[in-house]
């Protein structure tokens, strides 16, 4: 179907697996990373069409990942924040993300948001 590449960055393995499986079922090519540093490594293997980014992670959090990503890759891939923060919109605004999804979310919301952002990119 889609064939778009999505990089999912989240330190919770269950949630990571949930998102990966959901997107995989819809035909996305999914790559996973459990923190910002691993996500930067993953970028070495190719630029995704969209990054789904958790904010609070060990080793390197979403904010620091975004800063470094922008340094080297500018806005090559849109970033959608997936966060449990009290104010998800604020978290997204603070790092200049393209969108946000608050946890917990409906899978429909996840799929709609991803579809919209890859279509725009």
């Amino acid at each position: 179907m889609s064939g778009h590449r999505v990089l999912i960055v989240d330190d919770d393995p269950d949630l990571l697996a949930l998102m990966a499986e959901t997107l995989d079922l819809e035909g996305y090519v999914v790559e996973s990373a459990t923190n910002g540093a691993r996500a930067l490594d993953a970028l070495e293997r190719g630029m995704p069409d969209l990054i789904l980014l958790d904010m609070k992670m060990p080793v390197m959090d979403g904010r620091e990942f975004t800063r470094r990503f922008r340094e080297t890759h500018d806005h090559e891939a849109p970033i959608v924040v997936v966060t449990a923060a009290a104010d998800a919109r604020k978290s997204a605004d603070e790092i200049g993300a393209n969108g946000f999804i608050g946890k917990p979310f409906d899978l429909d919301v996840l799929l709609d948001t991803v579809a919209r952002e890859v279509a725009r990119a």
């Binding site: 998102m19 609070k56 449990a84 009290a86 919109r89 946890k103 917990p104 899978l107």
Partner: protein, 583 residues
């Protein structure tokens, strides 16, 4: 008055002798007067040397008795006089113990001729053969042949008299003697005036001493009170010099000794930096003591200190008031500070706990919800009963999520409010959408919508959705018997109304025909965690924060929220916010 004179018969020869004896005594009398003057000068009180003086006078004038009477007003206003001192010659009886000589009424004893003369500052004299009937009543028992009374005038008023009795013969007082006796009276009058002044001064001093002592005692009491209270207390003079500080004040500023605090307020920067509760530095003029000196009372204003010595942060509630003298002039200020550091820190800890707990709960809820939905999505081999179970997990996750949202909202309200993301929206559309999602959750409920016109507003969409959802949820929850829920969106565009910027307002009202709220509960509806139907058959769960949070959201949109409710008949909740075009 016809004079009666039995004494003339008693002592037919006495008169001539007396006249001769009286003459030539003036010099001796003046000597005694001089002695009197010297004695009185060195006396602290009248009684100290008066007996000596009277004896000298009596001896010098060769009389039988010398005495001093003092006037006073009786309770009924009658002028009475009492014998205070007396000297009596060896051959006559003393009358000082005679009760008749105490509180003797001039008017009632027929002695008006005394008071008439004496009160005008004139000498009164009489002798046997000329006595009135009432004079005889005195003269005969005391064997008085003649007497002379010299008025004592003190500060212009008649104080009493000094009198001289002659019991040996009806003596005629010659003018030189009378002058000398008058001089004695004047000396005594002046002395009495001096003694009175001294006594008055001593009484004033005594009063002042008593007053000073009372003031000291009161001050000591207050100092003890101020020292023992936990709050910090400062007293300032008009130059903002601290003139008093207590132990609580020392603790707050972390000073070593209370004495270190007795310095100009402007120097307190050496102890700490002063901020308001929003971390802004407070200008010197705006600090509570300064405000108080300008005549403003400050009541429990939140302030923060950062101590320079330890870097410690303290939260205070500060009150201050001017101190005024009896004429209302400001003569200083007093400030009281309550250390709320522990409370504030506990509050922060609680908010932080709620935030962290809520945050940590969200991920597991997301996993539950997500996998339930995923299982439904890929459910080719899912049985109908399994579908129901998965949906129940999904709904349960949503309920947990609501609770988390509620907790976060309350903690946000308390921790300096929300961050709102305003953007243009149509409140009518938002209302329609909220009713739509309600219908998904409670498909059997009938909702009537009356929204004739669009309602352009500038709002935080998520927050306003929360308000609409809270009001609709409550309407469903508390009308268990069913019955339609009526929602109106009423736009009042008012070009002329300046208070709305000439734009007008929109009011959303949600009515149910449910159980309503009793009058005793109505006042508490907007309080956090208040649940009107707790422990009643109508307790449908929930955190009791929907209305509390909604009110805060509406308030931050510049609007108001209110309700009418009747127990057993239903409730209507309204909120009104300003209309606002995009941009």
């Amino acid at each position: 008055m016809e004079p009666l004179d039995p004494s003339q018969e008693v002592h037919p020869q006495g008169r001539l002798d007396a006249d001769e004896r009286g003459n030539g005594r003036a010099e001796e009398i003046l000597g005694a007067v001089r002695f009197a003057a010297e004695s009185f000068l060195t006396s602290q009180t009248m009684s100290e040397r008066i007996d000596e003086v009277l004896a000298h006078l009596g001896t010098a004038a060769e009389v039988s008795r010398v005495y001093v009477f003092e006037n006073e007003l009786a309770a009924d206003g009658d002028l009475v006089t009492s014998q205070r001192f007396e000297w009596a010659a060896a051959d006559v009886t003393s009358e000082i113990q005679n009760p008749v000589m105490q509180r003797l009424s001039y008017a009632r004893s027929g002695l008006e001729m005394w008071s008439r003369a004496l009160s005008r500052g004139r000498i009164y004299e009489a002798r046997a053969g000329e006595y009135t009937r009432s004079e005889l009543d005195f003269a005969i028992p005391q064997h008085i042949q003649s007497y002379i009374l010299v008025p004592l005038m003190v500060e212009g008023s008649w104080w009493g008299f000094i009198g001289f009795d002659e019991c040996r013969s009806p003596r005629k007082w010659d003018s030189a003697v009378k002058d000398a006796l008058q001089a004695a009276g004047s000396i005594l009058s002046a002395a009495i005036q001096g003694w009175n002044a001294r006594r008055e001064k001593e009484r004033l001093l005594e009063r002042q001493r008593a007053f000073t002592e009372a003031a000291w005692r009161r001050a000591a009491e207050w100092e003890a009170v101020l020292a023992s209270i936990v709050d910090g207390v400062w007293v300032f003079d008009t130059d903002l010099q601290v003139t008093f500080a207590n132990e609580g004040a020392r603790r707050i500023f972390g000073a070593r000794r209370i004495e270190d605090l007795l310095r100009p307020w402007s120097e307190y920067v050496i102890f700490a930096e002063i901020f308001d509760m929003s971390e802004k530095s407070v200008g010197f003029e705006e600090q509570p003591p300064n405000r108080a000196l300008q005549g403003h009372a400050v009541s429990d204003v939140g302030m923060q200190l950062v101590l320079r010595s330890t870097g410690e942060r303290k939260y205070l509630g500060v009150s201050a008031a001017p101190i005024r003298d009896s004429s209302g002039r400001i003569v200083g200020a007093v400030a009281v500070a309550t250390d709320r550091t522990q409370q504030v820190e506990f509050g922060r800890l609680k908010d932080q706990f709620i935030r962290v707990a809520a945050h940590e709960l969200k991920t597991p809820v997301a996993i539950m919800k997500g996998y339930a939905q995923l299982a439904l999505r890929v459910g080719d081999q899912t049985s109908p009963s399994q579908v129901d179970r998965l949906r129940a997990i999904d709904r349960g996750s949503d309920r947990i999520d609501r609770i988390i949202q509620d907790l976060l909202s309350v903690s946000q309200v308390y921790a300096e409010g929300f961050t709102l993301h305003f953007k243009p929206a149509d409140l009518r559309e938002l209302t329609v959408a909220a009713i739509g999602s309600l219908s998904k959750e409670a498909p059997d409920r009938q909702v009537l919508l009356d929204a004739p016109s669009p309602a352009p507003v500038q709002v935080d969409v998520d927050r306003i959705e929360y308000v609409l959802r809270s009001l609709l949820d409550n309407a469903v929850r508390y009308s268990p018997a069913g019955g339609p829920i009526t929602v109106t969106v009423d736009v009042e565009a008012d070009e002329g109304l300046a208070s709305t910027g000439g734009r007008g307002t929109v009011t959303v009202s949600v009515s149910d025909q449910g159980i309503g709220v009793g009058p005793d509960k109505q006042a508490h509806l907007f309080e956090p965690f208040f649940r009107a139907h707790t422990d009643t058959p109508y307790d449908y769960g929930g955190m009791g924060v929907g209305l509390f949070t909604s009110r805060e959201i509406v308030r931050q949109h510049g609007g108001t929220i209110w309700f009418e409710s009747k127990e057993g008949a239903g409730s209507t909740f309204h909120f009104r916010i300003p209309l606002g075009e995009a941009g």
